[in-house]
Symmetry: C2
Subunit: 106 residues, 2 copies
């Protein structure tokens, strides 16, 4: 068994969808488009592979009021985001550059 993580960065986007009138949810704040954008970008960068990066869909991560949220493991870094530019900054700074994006961290 290796001590290397299976993915260097395993990224989980909360895509949870709630019904109208229920507690707020990430799906109502553009989570699906953000996840698809991240997945496409990581693939374009050639980082989509074991030992590198995996962009994942996830059910409710239970930080709804702080959403939309994404968590990157094994670092355990949580982010919120507004738009694709925020996602790009997380990819460029955290994933590619190894530097946490403080302004988006929660």
């Amino acid at each position: 068994m290796s001590d290397q993580p299976y993915y260097e960065h395993h990224v989980f986007f909360c895509l949870n969808q709630r019904q109208p009138g229920e507690r707020t949810c990430c799906a109502d704040k553009g989570a699906q488009a953000a996840q698809e954008h991240a997945k496409k970008r990581i693939k374009q960068l050639g980082l989509s592979a074991p030992g590198k990066v995996r962009i994942n869909k996830a059910g409710c991560l239970e930080r709804c009021e702080e959403g939309p949220v994404v968590v990157i493991y094994p670092q355990g870094t949580w982010y919120t985001y507004v738009d694709k530019e925020d996602i790009d900054e997380i990819i460029d700074s955290h994933i590619v550059g190894g530097k946490v994006v403080d302004r988006l961290k929660i």
Copy 2:
């Protein structure tokens, strides 16, 4: 900001469902029942909370042929399982006891 992880054990079950004839998938091997069982058991143990444990649904974790699979972060430990007894062993040993279940680790 705290260095403590938001969840001590963040558990992601792959629930990916593929169409018949496609590559094998976790959903065809009891993944949904396993995830529901784990979620219920963690709640019964009083461990379902920030700072403790979160049992999550996830999309394809891309280790299909080794499935059904589950990954526990931030430890980054991957397991396969067959039945609820395996899930209980992962909960009792890894999550409650802090001891990796070598026979199920992948």
